[in-house]
């Protein structure tokens, strides 16, 4: 009641820190259990949530665990027992969770986790880098990358909506510091509106003494294979379902999203592709370049797992040059997003030249001027080697 009064029955316009926006997104989804361990730059998210729990603004069990591995494991226990849960992490914390990330998807447990993208050591580095989440691409979690705090807030609501239907966990990414520690004006949905969009979590089976079941038992090859195949099949359907979610969300909240979001792409000769807040920087550069008469565009990649290859092919088949800006690298191969795009276009007759640019690891700043320089010299970029800029 108090919370309803404080935040009002209707959407409100608020100026807030990215981390706080995320905490409000989580609050609106009413997780019954939150379990988390602090790590820079995620810390503000869980601090704000613990304050919300303390004031009663959010009715939730908050488990202050002793490690990230326990944070996600406690969520596993909580979801298995039938409660919607939440955790957030970053960098080394995500790496420490790796084993349980596999377990979560294999167990078909829904969860939403926010990851504030940050570099992994050595050497120590707390700044933005997407290597942490990109290196978790094979664990069976859906991955959404956000450009703004508004997008992150909305994505959390959408992520719960999706996760509990397909019974797979979803990771929502924000670029550390760039989104987590900056202020943004955004529209905060009301609890009533979110309740109408997101039904309570009511799993068909859970740890219930009245209906005892064994969860995650050993499985021999045949059953194991079938269960993993089912995850792959569900991933195939996730894109369609999420697109339905976007449409429903747009109908209720007026903000629309896509798996891939084109900007000035229709006649573009050079199109940039990237994920996360870097898209904002590229937008500024694209605007400048367009004013100068250059045909430059941007494709923002929101969904990374499942990889929206078909959508990208539809969008970019006629493009001459695709410059992929990777905030992560797979050593010995290429930038992570570039690899995915090359794989997606492999069977296409008509495909762009894909340039793999590694940029901004460990928080190295990217300015619109850098993007402008890359755009103007795109034809000179090596088509085969990774290009390290910065």
């Amino acid at each position: 009641m108090q919370a309803e009064l404080k935040h009002g029955a209707r959407e409100s316009r608020e100026m807030m820190l990215g981390s706080d926006a995320i905490a409000h997104g989580v609050r609106l989804c009413r997780p019954a259990v939150i379990s988390a361990y602090p790590i820079t730059p995620q810390t503000h998210i869980i601090e704000t949530l613990s304050e919300m729990v303390d004031t009663g603004e959010l009715q939730s069990q908050f488990i202050k665990v002793e490690s990230e591995m326990s944070a996600i494991a406690a969520c596993l226990g909580a979801v298995s027992a039938g409660s919607r849960s939440f955790t957030a992490t970053s960098s080394h914390g995500l790496a420490m969770m790796h084993e349980i990330l596999h377990w979560f998807s294999g167990a078909r447990m829904p969860l939403v986790m926010v990851n504030a993208n940050r570099a992994l050591g050595a050497p120590w580095n707390i700044w933005c880098d997407q290597s942490d989440s990109m290196s978790q691409r094979d664990v069976g979690w859906l991955q959404l990358y956000c450009e703004t705090a508004q997008e992150a807030l909305d994505s959390i609501i959408l992520a719960y909506w999706l996760s509990e239907q397909i019974m797979l966990p979803v990771m929502v990414m924000i670029d550390g510091f760039i989104l987590s520690h900056t202020m943004e004006q955004l529209l905060l949905p009301s609890q009533r509106e979110v309740d109408a969009f997101l039904p309570p979590y009511r799993p068909a089976i859970f740890l219930d003494p009245e209906n005892p079941k064994t969860f995650c038992a050993a499985a021999a090859a045949d059953n194991f294979y079938q269960l993993k195949k089912a995850i792959a099949a569900t991933m195939e359907t996730a894109e369609t379902l999420l697109a339905e979610g976007y449409a429903l969300f747009a109908g209720r909240f007026g903000r629309s999203y896509g798996h891939v979001e084109p900007y000035c792409c229709d006649d573009a000769e050079v199109v940039f592709c990237c994920a996360g807040a870097l898209s904002g920087t590229v937008r500024v550069a694209v605007d400048q370049l367009r004013q100068e008469g250059h045909r430059i565009g941007l494709v923002k990649l929101r969904l990374f797992r499942p990889f929206p290859g078909a959508a990208l092919i539809r969008l970019l088949a006629g493009t001459k040059r695709l410059v992929v800006l990777n905030r992560s690298v797979s050593f010995g191969a290429a930038g992570t997003i570039a690899q995915e795009l090359r794989a997606a276009f492999y069977r296409e007759d008509c495909r762009p030249q894909i340039h793999d640019v590694i940029i901004s690891l460990g928080g190295k700043e990217v300015f619109p001027a850098t993007i402008r320089e890359i755009a103007l010299r795109a034809a000179e970029l090596s088509p085969t080697e990774s290009i390290w800029i910065g």
Partner: protein, 287 residues
């Protein structure tokens, strides 16, 4: 005292334990005390296999298999989930081996104990990594042969005092038990069941292949562990001090315990003398 044991089986026949397995016998009786309103959280250990492979299960209470290092954290999540839903009257029990407790699971155990999470943590201690084929754990006693302490000639390390570690967290309940003493065993599970907060039970759990004994000897040797003072039966009293719940008329020499098991074949006489003194010293500390 004769315990009024229910005929209901929560660990059913058809499970995959070796003959003479102390862990399955202990679990069967523990669940009889806790009853059907129990949720079990099970990290990687022998019992992960004993419980049966999908689509079968030997458990007729809800069971959650979890990764090795996470039992106490998962159990914390289960309990908080029940709390959030306002569900009462359900026992949550971790059933972990010595590896999942003394070693890889110790951090999560400490975290849950320090937060006073409301569940029962049971360590069934067969004194080595038996599921993977008898490798040394930090619960392996000095001088015991394992596949990673092959010579059995050096005493190697002292068994980690997990009871002291858990005691330092001021748990709501702390006890050791051994199914060779069923009345004591079941009374302790009943006390643990009826309390709330973090409760810890350390069970010595005979493993015939790992201890190199005949299956028919499992209970006899478990009994010897208590009668010699190797594994004293303890319980935390109201002042949170540990006291013996069973004192034999006279303690047997530890040699009786060691000589009955193939795993201690490498012990020299002076080692046994040394371990005798150590055992006496430890027993005296419990007054």
């Amino acid at each position: 005292m004769l315990w009024n044991v229910t005929t209901t089986e929560y660990l059913t026949s058809g499970h995959m334990a070796c003959p003479g397995c102390g862990a399955s016998l202990s679990l069967r009786h523990a669940l009889k005390v806790l009853g059907g309103q129990t949720i079990v959280v099970l990290p990687a250990c022998c019992m992960s296999i004993i419980a049966g492979a999908f689509p079968s299960s030997a458990f007729s209470v809800p069971l959650l298999h979890v990764p090795f290092a996470t039992a106490a954290a998962c159990a914390s999540g289960v309990r908080r989930s029940l709390l959030a839903q306002g569900k009462k009257g359900v026992s949550v029990m971790v059933w972990a081996g010595d590896g999942g407790t003394f070693d890889i699971g110790l951090q999560a155990l400490s975290g849950a104990a320090e937060r006073h999470e409301d569940f029962i943590y049971v360590c069934y201690d067969n004194e080595a990594y038996m599921n993977t084929g008898i490798q040394r754990s930090s619960a392996t006693p000095q001088g015991a042969w394992t596949t990673t302490t092959p010579a059995g000639k050096e005493l190697q390390y002292e068994k980690k005092d997990v009871i002291a570690i858990v005691k330092a967290h001021a748990p709501a309940y702390l006890a050791t038990a051994n199914i060779a003493y069923p009345d004591d065993f079941m009374a302790k599970f009943e006390r643990a069941r009826d309390l709330s907060g973090f409760r810890f039970l350390h069970l010595l759990s005979a493993c015939p292949p790992g201890w190199k004994i005949d299956s028919s000897e499992a209970l006899h040797i478990s009994r010897l562990a208590v009668e010699t003072g190797i594994f004293p039966l303890l319980e935390q009293d109201e002042e949170k001090n540990l006291r013996l719940t069973y004192v034999p008329q006279s303690w047997l020499p530890v040699a009786a315990y060691f000589q009955a098991q193939g795993r201690f074949k490498g012990l020299a006489e002076e080692d046994i003398d040394f371990l005798q003194q150590e055992t006496e010293r430890k027993i005296a500390a419990y007054g």
